[in-house]
Symmetry: C2
Subunit: 163 residues, 2 copies
Amino acid sequence: MQWSQLDAEACSLARTLAIMGDRWTLLILRDCFLRIRRFDDFQARLGIGRPILADRLQKLVAAGILAKVPYQERPVRYEYRLTPKGLDLYPVIISLVHFGDQHLAGPEGRPVLHRHLACGNLFDPVLVCSACGEPVGPRDIVVEPGPGARKRSPVPSEDASES
Amino acid sequence: MQWSQLDAEACSLARTLAIMGDRWTLLILRDCFLRIRRFDDFQARLGIGRPILADRLQKLVAAGILAKVPYQERPVRYEYRLTPKGLDLYPVIISLVHFGDQHLAGPEGRPVLHRHLACGNLFDPVLVCSACGEPVGPRDIVVEPGPGARKRSPVPSEDASES
DNA sequence: GTTAGTGAGTGTATTTTTAGAACTGAAGTC
DNA sequence: GACTTCAGTTCTAAAAATACACTCACTAAC
C-alpha cells in the first residue's frame, strides 16, 4: 500500500491519516488550538523548516481543516484559522495529549493541566457513548460494516474463503 | 527541532507523537484493536513492507504498547498483543475514526459502524469532562502549566525574554 | 536426509523526506 | 535610498523510509 492511496481505503482511520499522518501536521494543529495563526509564529514555535511548514499549511487548507484569511490589506498577509471541520479534530488532539499525560509524563508530572471552564475543575477527557452516555472501552464495541463498506473492510474476514 | 528530540519536549502531544507519529503505527494499532496479532497477518492486511513492520512492532514493544508473547513452543513463534497501556490508546483511534466518519466518508456513507455492546445502540464517541460529565469543546478549556512544565510550554510566552 | 514450506525477520539499494540556508517580493520605516 | 518584516520559494545535501530479495530456524514431506 502506498501512502498516497491511503485515502482510497474504505477505512476512516486511513483516510484521516492520509491528511494528518505525518510528523508535523498534528503539532501544527496543536498550535492552531492554542491560537497560533501566522506563518512565522508557527515556524518559530515549532522549529520546523519553512518549506515543510508551507507545504503542510497548504495541505491543511486544501483538506478544509484550515482557512487562509487575510488579516491586513496593504501588503496582503494571511493567517491560518481552524475551520469548523478543523475544530472537530479537537477530540483527536485531546486524546493524544491525554495518553501522553497518563503514560509519558516524566517524574515531574504533567506538563500542562486542562481546566473545564463550564465546571471550573481540572479534568481528564472521557470517551462516552452518544446513545447511553456510559464510557466506552475497546472491548465494549462491535464493528459492523456500514453503507460505505467495501470488501476490504477492517473486519478480518478476507481469509474466509480458505478456512 | 529533530524528530528524535520530540519526546524531550514538555508537551504530551509531542511525546505521544514520538511513539506513534508515523504513517504506519496507527494503522498497525487499528488492526491490533481488531485482534490481529501475527506478523504475517499484519503484513497481508496492511500491505506494509516486512522491514517496516518489524521495525514498528519492535518500537511498539519497546514503548510498552504491545507485548510479544509466544503462542507456540516448538519453533518459538510470537504474537503481538496490546498491553494495558496500549489499550489506553483506544480513545485516540476512535477519535481519528470518528473524524473520518464525519468528514471523509464518501457518498456511500461510513465504511463501518460502531455498536455499543452495553446499550446495544449504534453510537458516536463523545468526549466529556471527567469532573462534570458535560461534553467539552475546543473553547471550553483553559490550559494551565502543570508540575512537569518547562519554559517552552505550549502556551505562547517564550518571546518574553527577547522582546 | 535432502527438499520444500512457513513464520519472522535482515541487509542493501533506491526513492522520498527533511533540514538548513539563502533568495524573492511587496510594503512599510528610518 | 537602505533596512526591516512577513510570507513564502528555491536550491542542495543529508537523513529517513521504503521495496525487494535474501536469510534463518524449524517442520513436514518425500
